[in-house]
Each structure stands twice: as C-alpha cells, then as structure tokens.
C-alpha cells in the first residue's frame, strides 16, 4: 500500500553533524559497499571505467560555501534519504512498491514490484532516490534495515554502515520519535533542523548546524603587528646587532 501508515511512535533516522563532517566520503563508500552486497539488487554502476562513468549511490556528499569574505564557511554536506513522515515518494507510487514501514518509519522500495517509472524520484525534493542503471528499479537508503535488526552481526555493527564507518562521528543513528533518546537530546541541544521544511515532507533525519566561530580580535591575527610587538633582547639582541655590523 502506498498510502502512508499512521504515524509511528518509533522514528528511526540519522542525525548529521555539519560541524564535524570533514567530507572524507568514507560513509559514501561504505554505504555503496554494504548496499551493493546486501538488501535487494546490487547497486550498479554504468560504464565505471569508461569516459562517462555513472552509477547509483544512496548517500552523496556535497560541499557548500556559505557566507562571504572572512566569515565564509565551507560545509561538507552528506545527503541521503530523510525517511520523511509525510513522504511524497510513497504516495505517488502507482504499484505499492514504495512504502513506509508502520513499525519504525523506514521508507523502503519493494524491488520486485517496482516498475521503474521514476515518479517517486520526481516527487522527492531532496534527490534521495536514484534509478539503478542495470536493474531498472528505484534505489534508496534503507537505513541499513539489513544491519540494524541483524542478530548475526556484533552488537556494535547493528547500526547503518555510514554511521559505523564515520571516522569523526559526524553521523548518529537512533529513534527520533523518543524525546529521551540520545539523538533527540542531541537535536534539542544543538538546534537540529529540517531540510526544506517548506516542502511539507516532515523529514525524520535532522542536521546539526556548524558551531559559531570563536570570535577573534583584529590585532590577534595581524601578524605584522605581532612581529613588531616582540622586539628581541639579551643574547638575541646582541646577535642581531653583531650580525648588522658585519660587512656585506
């Protein structure tokens, strides 16, 4: 059924810290690695070693520059499915292949029912869905549904591949429906926000803003002034003067 289920109490999702992400793409690579071997058809590439390589990925990192001049900031920006509460990609699906799980809110695609019409990708404001070039079905982040409940894995591995691999701990996984959960606390403490709230999709995933820069006074960064301030004395003064006296 592509009608949305009643809102679930459990809302599994990611919290991504834009202050910490260094843009290393490790999460992108591990996502591709896990998902090409895990749930559903492999995540195919087309012409990977040729002139115009392309392929389906479930997680991509854009890098933005925000602001101007000395205050400008470079922000690495990982983007994957936000598992929206009002997911437009689900309701537009004509076959029922695209669905949102009632029990934990994860948005998935039943690849055996997908006709590859692409309408869900048109309905998603974020570009979170990509057509698989080999299989002709829609691919999207599964929140590693085949890891997080997988009792064959060690406890610490039962989190999405992107979260597991992030070397800077910029990605957090948890239940955003529970206000007491670690991720919810993080969102509350850091002022976590939604992407494109005006689209009315109510994303579950939240982003944490870059922390404000520590203020620096002008003369602290004025290196010339700093150099002038510190005139040498003692041995260094003697050496300086002696060297000045030498011919040449």
């Amino acid at each position: 059924m592509t009608s949305l289920p009643p809102a679930s109490d459990v809302k599994l999702g990611l919290v991504i810290d834009l202050d910490i992400c260094v843009g290393c793409h490790a999460c992108v690579v591990n996502c591709k690695e896990w998902n090409t071997a895990g749930y559903g058809a492999p995540l195919a590439d087309s012409n990977p070693y040729g002139k115009n390589p392309s392929g389906s990925w479930l997680n991509r990192i854009h890098t933005f520059e925000a602001g101007h001049g000395a205050e400008a900031k470079v922000v690495h920006f990982p983007k994957s499915c936000l598992h929206c509460e009002d997911a437009p990609c689900v309701t537009v699906c004509p076959t029922g292949a695209s669905y949102k799980r009632a029990e934990d809110g994860i948005v998935l695609v039943n690849e055996d029912h997908c006709i590859g019409c692409g309408l869900c990708a048109w309905a998603c404001p974020y570009g979170a869905r990509e057509m698989d070039p080999a299989e002709g079905v829609m691919k999207k982040c599964t929140l590693c549904v085949d890891r997080i409940y997988n009792t064959h894995l060690e406890e610490e591995d039962r989190i999405p591949a992107c979260v597991r691999t992030c070397p800077t701990s910029a990605r957090h996984f948890g239940d955003l429906g529970d206000p007491e959960s670690e991720v919810s606390q993080l969102v509350a403490a850091r002022g976590g926000f939604d992407l494109m709230p005006e689209q009315g999709t109510k994303p579950v995933n939240k982003y944490l803003p870059p922390r404000p820069r520590q203020s620096v006074t002008a003369d602290e960064v004025d290196l010339v002034a700093m150099a002038k301030k510190t005139t040498p004395g003692g041995f260094w003064k003697w050496l300086d003067q002696s060297l000045d006296r030498l011919p040449g």
Binding site: M1, T2, S3, L4, G23, V28, P53, S54, S56, W57, R60, I61, H62, T63, F64, E65, A66, G67, H68, E71, A72, K73, V75, F77, K79, P88, T91, V92, C93, P94, T95, G96, A97, C114, I115, G116, C117, G118, L119, A121, W122, A123, P125, Y126, G127, E130, M131, P133, E135, G136, V137, F193, D194, L195, M196, E198, Q199, G200, Y207, P209
Partner: protein, 304 residues
C-alpha cells in the same frame, strides 16, 4: 526536467485520442455507416493505444505495468492507469454496440465522454500534484491538458466529418475555432503564471545554512553527471524557449485557426490542420518538460 520522447508522445497522442473519444461519446460526431464506426474506433483507440504503449517505454520493468492499477487511493499515476483502462474498455464496448445495433447508445457515450476527460485530468494531475516542480504545481495545469485534448479532438473530429462528407462539418470547425482559441488563451495564461512561480525553496533552505549567508556549491559530490542531473537537471537556453513557445502557438493554434476559418469544409486541409495542431502540442509538451525545474537542482548549484 528531461523531455523524454516517450512521455511527450504518450501525453500528446493519448490526449488527442481521449479528446476525440469524448467528442464521439458526447455525440458531437456520430458515424453514419458501419465502415465509419470502424474508422472512428481504429483512430481513437489507435491513438490511445499508441500513446499507452509509448508510455511503457520509459519504464524499467514494463512487464510489471499492470501493478500500476493497484494504488488508485493515493497515486495519480495509478488513477490515470485505471481510468485509461476503463475508458478503453467502455469505448470499445460503445463502438461494438454501435456496430451491432446500428445506432449509438447515448448513455454509454456519455460515460465514454466523462471517463475520457477524467483520464486526461488524471494525467495532468501526475504533474500538477508535484510540489517539487513549481512550474507544474499550478491550478491551470489540468485545465491546459483538458483544453488541448478537447481542442485536438474537435479538430480531428472536424477532419473526420469532412472526410465522411457529413453536414455537421462546418459546425464542428466553428466549435474547433472556439476550443483552440480558448486552449491557447489558457495556455498563455499558464506560461505567464507558471513561469513566474517559484518553488519557495532555495539553496539556503535546502541546506539549512541560510543563517550563515548565501549558500554556494563549492564541490559536487561526483565528477560526472549522475542520474538525478540527467533526469531532473535538464536546461534549455532562454531564447530557444521563447522561440519554441511561439512555434507551438503558431502550429497548435495559428495554422488550425486559419484553416478552420478560411476553409471550414475542406477535408484535406482539415486533416492538415489536425496534424499541424498535434505537432504544435508536441512542441508545447516538450517545453512543458524542458522548462520545468526540480528542487533537487538546488543541491547542484541552481539558485532557485
């Protein structure tokens, strides 16, 4: 948005087919001999069928297309599929019944007419319901689709009527003039309103970084174009879009208006008018896709 040939051919051919079917259904053109009932049937069902077959070309799995009939409760694409299948079924029954009894069944025709218009509305709503494409998310979008479908239907009906040598041809060309002019007035209004409307989203709202200032893409996530950009990042030069808009107006409205106004009963010229109109609507539909911007482009350097 990428102007996929399969979708342009589908929406224009089936639009014309459903337009003609509603004209036939509402009794504005009625074949007088079994041979012409067959011709009406072959042309209307053929146009719809060719369109539907073309629409399956862009699917990754056409063999599963029947599944698309299941989610009519939430999906306009599914509703379109259900309505199109119903219309084709009832239309075929209508023609068979007409052939068998020699006279058309009026209530069955009315059902055909209503179903045809509803199908075109459903097609348009697939696009009009997408908040992500501001240009399409417009109340006039379904009106444009229905009027262009009906306009094509009337011009085609006038051509068929002239070919059959019926009395009502001139009345149909008069109706054609009115419908074509009306369709183009609404389409022009659409161009003016839809062209001015934005999605309300910006790179700042897309990234949530607006509080830091203007947001610019510094590095793309990948070196080559990906599927999202191929599918939704299609760009067209502005000067070309203006030229093409004029070309579509001249072909879809100008030429048919001249022909219907000057030669209201010339079978050959009315056939030309119908074909030129169809080509004009194809140009219009190409622009409908090509000029539409998707919010995903905001993550790839687009400003609005």
């Amino acid at each position: 948005m990428r102007p996929a040939a399969s979708l342009i051919i589908f929406t224009t051919l089936s639009g014309l087919g459903f337009g003609l079917a509603s004209l036939i259904g509402f009794g504005l053109i009625t074949a007088t001999s079994p041979k012409w009932v067959m011709i009406h049937g072959v042309i209307s069902l053929g146009l719809i069928g060719a369109g539907v077959i073309s629409s399956t070309v862009h699917l990754g799995h056409p063999e599963r297309a029947w599944r698309a009939l299941s989610q009519w409760r939430s999906s306009w694409l599914s509703r379109e599929g259900v309505l199109a299948a119903l219309t084709v079924l009832v239309l075929a029954i209508y023609f068979a019944d007409h052939l068998y009894h020699g006279v058309p069944r009026v209530w069955l025709g009315a059902v055909v007419g209503i179903l045809s218009v509803l199908t075109v509305i459903a097609t348009a709503m697939i696009y009009a319901s997408l908040k992500t494409v501001a240009r399409w998310h417009n109340a006039l979008t379904p009106v444009v689709f229905v009027l262009l479908s009906l306009a094509g239907g009337v011009v085609a009906a006038a051509a068929l009527s002239a070919l059959e040598g019926m009395d009502g041809t001139v009345a149909l060309t008069r109706l054609g003039l009115i419908t074509v002019v009306l369709a183009m007035i609404i389409k022009t209004l659409w161009w003016l309103t839809a062209g001015a409307s934005g999605s309300g989203s910006t790179p700042e709202s897309a990234t949530g970084l607006g509080s830091l200032g203007e947001v610019r893409l510094l590095m793309s996530p990948h070196s080559e174009e990906n599927w999202l950009q191929h599918e939704m990042g299609f760009q067209i030069a502005r000067k070309h879009s203006h030229r093409l808009a004029w070309i579509s107006l001249i072909l879809a409205a100008g030429v048919p208006i001249l022909i219907m106004g000057l030669y209201p009963s010339s079978a050959t010229l009315l056939v030309v008018a119908a074909l030129v109109h169809l080509f004009g609507v194809m140009v219009e539909r190409w622009l409908f896709f090509a000029e539409a911007k998707h919010t995903v482009t905001l993550f790839y350097g687009a400003r609005h």
